[in-house]
């Protein structure tokens, strides 16, 4: 009998002790901004999933492409149909690490390093971000440039002047403790 109790206790204890080590958000905000002489295009996504493992500083982000909201409905359709091909590549992902996460001050600038996958193409990425850690929140905010051509996204010649070659991607995540 006693070993069983031990097992149960251990199980309880182990899950509890690890529970606070992951911080998750399901409604992170990511937007991108393309600026060209003809028009500015902006799209927002408020359903971004991001998770941080506080033990290792590892971070994983998953973005559903169809959740990007554009000002013009037709733009959104063309974005999904022709540019990022959301049927074939439904998600953009980032897998990486927040450097020196464990030793960080509660509010500081960090470097995030990892691999960004968009449109089925993976590129390494290193960017600065601001971080703020509190008891039950981890805020992460930053932006970085993305070259459209790097991810095999074609821009047809008729709209080549409407879409910037490098777009600015911004993110803002409010992670909360993740419990199963």
């Amino acid at each position: 009998m006693k070993p069983i109790i031990t097992i149960i206790l251990c199980l309880l204890f182990s899950s509890m002790s690890y529970a606070q080590e992951k911080y998750l958000t399901k409604n992170g905000h990511t937007s991108f901004f393309s600026s060209s002489p003809i028009e500015d295009i902006e799209a927002d996504n408020n359903q971004v999933l991001s998770i941080i493992d506080t033990k290792t500083g590892k971070i994983a982000i998953s973005i559903l492409m169809k959740s990007f909201m554009f000002e013009k409905a037709l733009m959104q359709e063309h974005f999904n149909e022709n540019y990022v091909e959301s049927d074939k590549y439904p998600k953009a992902t980032f897998k990486g690490e927040i450097l020196d996460f464990v030793t960080l001050e509660n509010t500081s600038e960090v470097i995030i390093k990892g691999n960004l996958t968009i449109h089925g193409v993976t590129k390494s990425l290193e960017t600065k971000a601001k971080i703020k850690k509190t008891e039950d929140h981890i805020f992460l905010e930053g932006s970085f440039p993305v070259k459209v051509a790097d991810f095999n996204i074609e821009i047809p010649s008729v709209v080549v002047n409407n879409i910037a070659k490098t777009i600015k991607v911004s993110f803002n995540f409010d992670h909360k403790p993740y419990t199963k």
């Binding site: 251990c10 927002d44 999933l49 559903l64 000002e71 359709e77 999904n80 905010e141 047809p156 993740y178």
Partner: protein, 304 residues
């Protein structure tokens, strides 16, 4: 000692669990939302007739369609380009599911008003609904005064009604098919033998060649055609070219009109005899209403 081993085992299992890939957790946590097939067709028309696509809420589209004369008229008529039949229309998305429009065709100086409502939408994933279904209705007022003196038609004699059920399925990103049973009622007919109610069955489809270009076809089989004229079934082939903001369609068809009651029931040319009309549809979309409050969602207040 035994207990100690168990403890170690448990602890290591615990570690395995936490080492679970972060992406697996994200996948588990991804909310399951219902998704629908999008862009079954590029435009609101397959070629002559309507596709199941609507304009989204708040979009006003100005549509210009042209059908020229028969290409086999020869060089003297510049292969039909000297003759032209044009339809202007304003088409508007009242909601994401309901679209309305008004148009004016030069052929018979006809005015038309239509609605198109999405009844069912094809879903994505297992156990989702397999097809999209839309209901289309249109009324046409034929305003041309081509009657014999003293034989003036009444206002109601000038009216025609079309009802269509549009059933479509996007089989793959590159291939879509649509079937459209049609019912056309004409308040007046030329001779006694002409039916007031005409039934037709249409089929249309598209095959994508590239991301921005597709080849389309459309055919309507009339079950009980008009007797007063020698009618043919409407057939059309064409290409959709998407140019950034809008869709441009180039069409070859044996029909010269762009409204249902005419091209389904009144086409008289034989496609395979060379009685082909060149045509195009072009539209310009304007967005109303939905102007997003800029920056509204944008990081309401930065936490940092």
């Amino acid at each position: 000692m035994k207990k100690f081993i168990i403890l170690l085992t448990i602890l290591s299992i615990g570690n395995v669990v936490t080492a679970q890939d972060l992406f697996e957790i994200l996948d588990e946590e991804t909310p399951q939302t219902k998704e629908y097939a999008t862009a079954t067709f590029k435009g609101t028309r397959i070629l002559n007739g309507h596709s199941i696509e609507n304009r989204k809420k708040g979009i006003l589209e100005f549509v210009i369609s042209h059908r020229f004369g028969r290409v086999n008229l020869g060089a003297d008529e510049l292969f039909g380009l000297d003759q032209s039949n044009i339809r202007f229309a304003f088409e508007y998305g009242l909601t994401d599911n309901l679209m309305i429009g008004v148009g004016r065709s030069s052929f018979e100086k006809a005015y038309d008003a239509f609605f198109k409502y999405k009844l069912l939408k094809q879903g994505i994933g297992k156990k989702s609904f397999p097809i999209s279904v839309s209901l289309f209705g249109s009324t046409v007022y034929r305003s041309v005064d081509d009657f014999e003196p003293g034989n003036e038609p009444s206002e109601s004699d000038r009216l025609f009604y079309t009802t269509q059920l549009l059933l479509a399925r996007k089989f793959s990103p590159g291939f879509s098919l649509q079937i459209m049973p049609s019912y056309i009622h004409r308040n007046s007919v030329a001779i006694e033998e002409d039916p007031h109610d005409i039934f037709a069955l249409g089929i249309g489809g598209r095959i994508k060649l590239t991301k921005r270009i597709s080849v389309n076809g459309e055919y309507h089989y009339t079950l009980n055609p008009l007797e007063s004229i020698n009618t043919t079934n409407s057939l059309a082939f064409g290409i959709d070219i998407e140019t950034g903001g809008h869709v441009f369609q180039i069409i070859l068809s044996n029909s010269i009109t762009m409204i249902e009651k005419s091209f389904i029931t009144e086409s008289t040319d034989d496609f395979f005899e060379g009685d082909v009309h060149l045509g195009f549809n072009i539209s310009r979309a304007f967005q109303f209403g939905q102007k997003k409050k800029r920056k509204q969602q944008k990081i309401k207040e930065s936490h940092l």
